[in-house]
């Protein structure tokens, strides 16, 4: 009885929260509403990639491809409906949106199957390249298909999808969380830890890998469909390699394998550029100096870690020397940059720093804490209390 109460209670709560976010979005400006939708989509993307990369230990760096499959499926469907006169240009009714989302879920899942099958033969880095290549092939094919709008893009009637975006997000998080608590989830984890050993223990490695790909890409596809109806217009530039790398950064930052980590990282990395968008332009030499300073600081911390081991040693007096070196180095670089005529007195819009920050975060994270902020741990009330009791 309690089991079902908890289940239905949490589902009801999720739906309520989704519609609550929807109401906030409806009450606020178009920009805020769009951001709320995109935040949910990014969380979905990060969590679904985490299922493939973090939980199952495969290495996909082309997640945007599945996002793209879903998005174009929905847009194509909408264009057919529009030409048949089923929907009008004013907007897509919600039932049709849901039909499109379901279709995208299926097509992206099939695409995932298509990519998951070769993954049986390929080890980590090769698989990464295949997923990257799949995304590029898809982009080039879509660019040359007039039915899909070619390189211009494709229009589709908008719809207010914020609540559905968040429902999808809750569904995705719920599936991943519940998966980890069942025997099925254990087989996913065992494939990550050791493929050979888990197959010796009777885990069907093939099935697990393919299942991870299909589920992960199906969620990405559904997210893509909702993106289509949220934006009203999509083209191939929304699904470049950069998008894949951003999603990957979110997963890596949050800790590969930690669902809550992915959520936190996705929200943080999504909000950061939006804050930067409104920030004033920054002088180039200051940016370069900061980058150099961070690089030096990371270098010295890394050296301290290598020589003293992890833990409190980072905060030994030597570290203060390291910070001093970093600050001095940063200042030197920014002064030097100002001496070069080509670089002096140039400013750059803060929005252009977005990808620089993402990539710097990726490298720093890997050098200092390769397992991500949360590692494989989950952030939650339970772990909070356990920590307090211990």
């Amino acid at each position: 009885m309690k089991f079902w109460a908890v289940r239905f209670g949490s589902i009801g709560l999720a739906v309520l929260v989704s519609f609550g976010i929807g109401m906030i979005a409806q009450g606020s400006s178009g920009t805020v509403s769009r951001l709320l939708a995109l935040a949910g989509l990014y969380v979905t993307l990060a969590v679904s990639l985490n299922l493939i990369n973090g939980i199952t230990g495969q290495f996909s760096i082309g997640h945007a491809a599945f996002y793209q499959v879903g998005s174009y499926t929905a847009a194509f469907l909408a264009s057919i409906l529009l030409s048949r006169g089923v929907i009008s240009n004013l907007g897509t009714p919600i039932p049709w949106v849901l039909v499109a989302v379901a279709t995208s879920l299926v097509t992206a899942g099939i695409a995932g199957l298509f990519i998951g099958l070769p993954s049986l033969r390929l080890r980590g880095d090769y698989l990464a390249i295949v997923t990257l290549g799949f995304g590029e092939i898809l982009r080039i094919v879509i660019q040359n298909t007039p039915q899909l709008g070619g390189s211009y893009g494709i229009n589709s009637p908008k719809a207010f999808v914020v609540p559905y975006v968040w429902m999808l997000t809750f569904l995705c998080v719920g599936v991943c969380r519940n998966l980890l608590q069942t025997a099925h989830g254990l087989s996913f984890l065992s494939v990550r830890e050791d493929e050979v050993a888990s197959s010796a223990m009777g885990v069907n490695v093939t099935r697990v890998k393919v299942a991870a790909f299909v589920i992960g890409s199906a969620f990405a596809g559904a997210a893509g469909a909702l993106l289509t109806f949220n934006e009203g217009f999509i083209n191939v530039n929304s699904f470049t390699m950069d998008v894949s790398f951003i999603i990957l950064t979110m997963v890596v930052l949050g800790g590969t394998g930690s669902v809550t980590g992915s959520i936190v990282a996705a929200l943080t990395l999504f909000i950061l550029p939006e804050v930067l968008r409104d920030a004033p332009a920054m002088p180039l030499n200051a940016v370069l100096g900061t980058l150099a300073g961070i690089a030096l600081l990371v270098g010295t911390i890394r050296l301290a870690m290598d020589h003293k081991g992890l833990g409190r040693s980072i905060w030994m007096p030597k570290t203060y020397i390291g910070i001093g070196i970093a600050v001095a180095g940063g200042i030197v670089v920014s002064v030097l940059a100002n001496c070069l005529p080509a670089l002096a007195n140039r400013t750059i819009p803060s929005a252009e720093l977005r990808m620089v920050i993402f990539s710097a975060v990726l490298v720093i994270m890997m050098l200092l804490r390769p397992q991500g902020i949360f590692g494989v741990r989950e952030l939650g009330l339970k772990s909070f209390f356990r920590r307090a009791n211990a």
């Binding site: 230990g57 290495f59 760096i61 070769p118 033969r121 390929l122 080890r123 980590g124 880095d125 090769y126 990464a128 390249i129 295949v130 990257l132 290549g133 799949f134 590029e136 092939i137 080039i140 094919v141 660019q143 040359n144 050979v196 390699m241 790398f245 990957l248 890596v252 180039l284 940016v287 370069l288 980058l291 690089a295 270098g299 890394r302 290598d306 080509a342 670089l343 750059i348 252009e352 720093l353 990808m355 620089v356 993402f358 990539s359 710097a360 990726l362 490298v363 890997m366 050098l367 390769p370």
Partner: protein
């Protein structure tokens, strides 16, 4: 556009493919050497290439080859070209070593995926960091500024059909007559030909267009009856230099002590270190050589192919070169060369077959196909992973 495949253009396309492929091969060598030694896909290799193209550009600017600079002519530039080549190789070599020392070496004890993510991060950092600082496709490529080797080396394969030459002359004479008639008509009526809608005007216009078409056809038939290979001198020199560098690399790897150590490390990293080989030094050396080869490729690509420079130029070149390395069998040096040449030829063949918009996709199609059919590559052997 002529429909179907133009067989007479095939030899020329194959040659172009080989010349492109030589650059792919040069870049692929860096991927394959690093993979051989560290079992790591060096994603940042493409960005090393990018830095090489910009080094070449900046050196050429320093030597006075920028727009409107006085006193520099193309004739004086061979020495400058050599300087650009050496500078690119040195800068790229040092960059590669620095990346290895500060980004990859700390990750060596971690899981391989962690190194791979680091590599992706370094690559993106260089791309987007570079975009902040570097000029985007500066006006007039270095190709026009520095390259002293204008013109083509034309190698006739089959002489043109002389009897067709007469028909070309005849058709051209007729075309001229028809054009003259049209011109006169325009003068008479005082209206531009497009708006002349009278019966007679239409007839004259049609006749002129038909004559022009006949003349064009005759000319293309005449041209196609012969066959010749055109090699731009610059690209020819590029090809020879590439072969020279590959020869040098072969000597280095096969016949020197360092080369033998490198092969030992590639064969078995741990055993090599037990045998007294300074593994770190060899890894550094591998990055130095591989990256400087990429630098050489970058300089030649920027100078003789006139590639548009942006800080993202390394992405396409890098990925294609990586495909070349996988195609030949990653970790295998002759394989990288073979793979590079094959990718170059495959790309030009796709363009020749009329699919120029799919030129960039073919490398990935080949990649996926190779990985599915023969994951070890053409010259490599797939290793069974031991527990």
């Amino acid at each position: 556009m002529t429909a179907g495949l133009d067989a007479s253009a095939l030899p020329q396309q194959l040659l172009n493919g080989l010349m492109f492929g030589a650059i792919y091969a040069l870049v692929a060598l860096g991927y394959t050497m690093v993979y051989g030694v560290l079992k790591l896909i060096n994603f940042a290799h493409g960005e090393v290439f990018m830095v090489g193209t910009y080094t070449a550009l900046f050196v050429s600017w320093q030597m006075g080859y920028f727009q409107g600079a006085p006193g520099m002519t193309r004739a004086t530039s061979p020495a400058v070209l050599l300087l650009m080549l050496v500078a690119s190789m040195i800068v790229c070599g040092l960059l590669g070593v620095a990346i290895e020392r500060f980004a990859y070496r700390p990750m060596r004890k971690q899981a391989r995926i962690a190194s791979l993510i680091t590599a992706i991060g370094v690559s993106m950092l260089l791309q987007y960091g570079g975009a902040l600082v570097l000029p985007v496709s500066p006006p007039r490529s270095i190709l026009e500024q520095v390259n002293p080797y204008d013109g083509n080396l034309s190698i006739p394969l089959k002489p043109r059909n002389a009897s067709l030459a007469a028909s070309v002359d005849k058709a051209q004479a007729e075309e001229k007559l028809a054009a003259l008639a049209l011109e006169q008509r325009i003068k008479q009526e005082g209206v531009s030909s497009e708006f002349d809608l009278s019966e007679e005007g239409k007839k004259i216009r049609a006749a002129s267009q038909a004559a022009a078409q006949v003349s064009r056809d005759a000319e293309s038939r005449y041209n196609e009856s012969g066959m010749s290979l055109n090699v731009p001198y610059g690209q020819g020199i590029m090809f020879l230099a590439t072969l020279g560098l590959m020869g040098l690399l072969t000597y280095l790897v096969m016949f020197t002590k360092t080369g033998r150590q490198m092969r030992a490390v590639a064969h078995d990293f741990d055993s090599a270190s037990l045998m007294g080989i300074n593994v770190d030094r060899i890894v550094t050396f591998t990055f130095l050589i591989g990256s400087s080869l990429a630098g050489a490729g970058a300089m030649m690509c920027a100078t003789f192919l006139g590639t548009q420079l942006t800080s993202f130029v390394g992405v396409t070149w890098g990925v294609k070169a990586f495909v070349a390395a996988v195609l030949g069998g990653i970790g295998n040096i002759p394989g990288a060369v073979l793979g590079g040449l094959l990718i170059g030829v495959a790309e030009t063949l796709v363009v020749w077959a009329g699919g120029s918009q799919y030129k960039d996709a073919i490398a990935f199609v080949i990649l996926i196909f190779v990985l599915l059919v023969k994951p070890g590559g053409l010259l490599g052997s797939a290793k069974v992973e031991k527990v």
